[in-house]
Symmetry: C2
Subunit: 362 residues, 2 copies
DNA sequence: ATGAAAGCGCTAACAT
DNA sequence: ATGTTAGCGCTTTCAT
């Protein structure tokens, strides 16, 4: 209900026979007028159904929206299903709450080029979470004359950033597997570009990936395995556009079908790894005896599954991003927050067995 | 970066020697001016670093914010941890996305009376999710001259609503347990009022609960059990302020400690029930042999645990709330959407065993 | 303690 | 196809 469009500050002032300033002060600077007058103003306001100063008009005048915009590269609803994104959101909302700021989720359908929603967002700044280098919504955000903080990707000069050292993080994993003795590996990765693609990703595609994070993780893996003599060109890298357990499962199936000799599947996310675990089970492969599977992120479900993975502080990332954006100081910018990661040795990685062992038992 | 505060539509128009209308049209009504002129406008805009029409000024003029506000009764970050709230959010975000609308999460700390965030929210309407009757933020929302849709609670005349039939839903559960033979029951419920309280809730407290949903569920349980001769006054109802698995656990412990003769614990949420399951395990009680435990909501973790519960379509609730708010039509209001629920018979409910059986085995 | 004047930056009739 | 005129509703110096 409440569909009238009635009293304004001006009409209220007129009714009261006072100036608009006085009415404004009644709401915003109680100490600037006598308690009696203030009470009279507020009472009359109630009587006339005046809802208080219009927030939009106020924002226009004060140049403050009281909200932070969040740009994701996915459908909004996706964010509520991906545990890592969720952790980020939780952290970000914590920071917003601390600052009394609202959090505006900006719809940015990755399938469309529509950036109107970015233009329309009445916010004091944007947090950009994990979008590709060439995302048009990002471009629209950067045109807005407000501060921007990027989380994870892309990394853009001159912009505040929060993230982790992806290369370092996944290198720990690579070294762990190398130490265990794995040389025949396969990789499952998330989407590398905005256009849908499901299947093997050539090294060229890997290098051209517009998703910075994936690109760097793959590059770091390549480097680590090349150092022990693995020909990266021969390492199957399977890409999936959708980030779901079932895409992980299908990707792993595809991988094991075409390259059954792999002894380990490295996944660039826990979600994909969880799917890979399913795929292994479906094929009757035991993990880690027959096959090693590793993830990335350290989500709860991964922990539950005993996944060997890399834990990153997703909640802290969100909080740090929010703080960076909301913190008054903007002196020696751009600023960067780099958070720590941690190798989690679960029960899904073990030394490889030889082909013979795998087929004929130990 | 991007911290200049430069060109406006007017300055751009001046620079170009055209009217502001023309510049405005270049952005909002491309068909209203020649392509060449439009290109000239846009090019000059880029050159001057004009970021396009200011969204706040536009909102003021058009009386459209392009965003929906969401009011929760909890800290924002809580919403990202409660599976039911999350489902609701997902549904709501789906509806917003469809309409190209943003979703503004309004910080509304339940501990404070601060409603400024509600006043400051530049939105075209509010969705209110499960807040108590006397929530000051809700009052602030209702003063705003914008449409409001309430989900679950409270139920306020004249306001659009979406929800379920709580009494009916939990009655199904009550009848199920009654049929199994349970007469000695205990109940775990969520907070009944805004002020923190943890422990037994008297019938008076139950009846005065400012959380509508809990009140109705308890009332329906009372009615159902009274019909089979149970003295509701004697039924222990344990309340918990925090909605977490561990509060469920402690509440169940408290219940079983003080009333070990209960054969069933009915919980008004799955989260609490999951905690009750833990408590039973800690005491060495087998579920359902020694103790029946039931939940409410139908969250994924409940399903995983085989919980006997009532499933409600949380995602649909969110979507319906969003649609109700965004749907152009506002004729024969108020409107109400009542969604269906479903009894899920899991493996945590069975006929009670007598006290003797329980102590000495079958 | 209260008021007058001057916009914040934009869009929407209504001309032309 | 482009310009003129009027605000949207508010806050903020600066006076008084």
């Amino acid at each position: 209900m409440n569909a009238r469009r009635p009293a304004t500050l001006a009409s209220l002032a007129a009714e009261l026979g006072v100036s608009r300033t006085t009415v404004s002060n009644a709401y915003n600077r109680p100490d600037q007028l006598s308690p009696e007058l203030r009470k009279r103003v507020l009472d009359t306001a109630r009587r006339l159904g005046y809802p208080g100063p219009d927030p939009v008009a106020r924002s226009l005048r004060t140049r403050k929206a009281g909200a932070v915009g969040l740009l994701l590269t996915e459908n909004l609803s996706y964010a509520f299903r991906d545990p890592a994104a969720l952790g980020f959101l939780e952290g970000l909302s914590l920071a917003c709450e601390d600052a009394g700021s609202g959090l505006l989720l900006v719809p940015a359908n990755p399938e469309r080029e529509e950036v109107a929603s970015v233009h329309r967002a009445g916010v004091d700044g944007f947090v950009v979470y994990s979008v590709p280098d060439d995302d048009p919504h990002l471009a629209a955000v950067m045109e807005r004359p407000v501060p921007v903080v990027v989380c994870d990707q892309p990394s853009i000069d001159n912009l505040d950033r929060v993230g982790i050292d992806d290369a370092h993080a996944i290198k720990l994993m690579a070294e762990h597997l190398i130490e265990l003795g794995h040389r025949k590996i396969g990789v499952l990765c998330m989407r590398l570009a905005r256009a849908r693609n499901d299947g093997p990703a050539s090294t060229q595609r890997q290098e051209n990936a517009s998703f910075h994070v994936q690109r760097r993780r793959l590059a770091a893996l390549a480097e680590a395995f090349r150092e022990v003599g693995v020909d990266w060109e021969q390492v199957p890298v399977i890409e999936r556009f959708d980030h779901t357990v079932s895409s992980g499962e299908s990707a792993a199936s595809q991988l094991l079908e075409s390259t059954p000799e792999v002894t380990a599947i490295i996944c660039t996310s826990d979600i994909l790894a969880l799917g890979a675990l399913n795929a292994a089970r479906n094929r009757g492969s035991r993990v880690p005896e027959d096959l090693t599977v590793t993830g990335f992120d350290g989500i709860v479900d991964a922990e539950r599954a005993g996944l060997t993975t890399v834990r990153q502080p997703v909640l802290e990332k969100g909080r740090a991003a929010g703080r960076l954006l909301l913190d008054t100081g903007e002196p020696g910018r751009p600023r960067e927050v780099r958070l720590e990661t941690q190798l989690v040795t679960g029960s899904t990685a073990a030394p490889p067995r030889s082909i013979e062992e795998r087929w004929f038992g130990p």
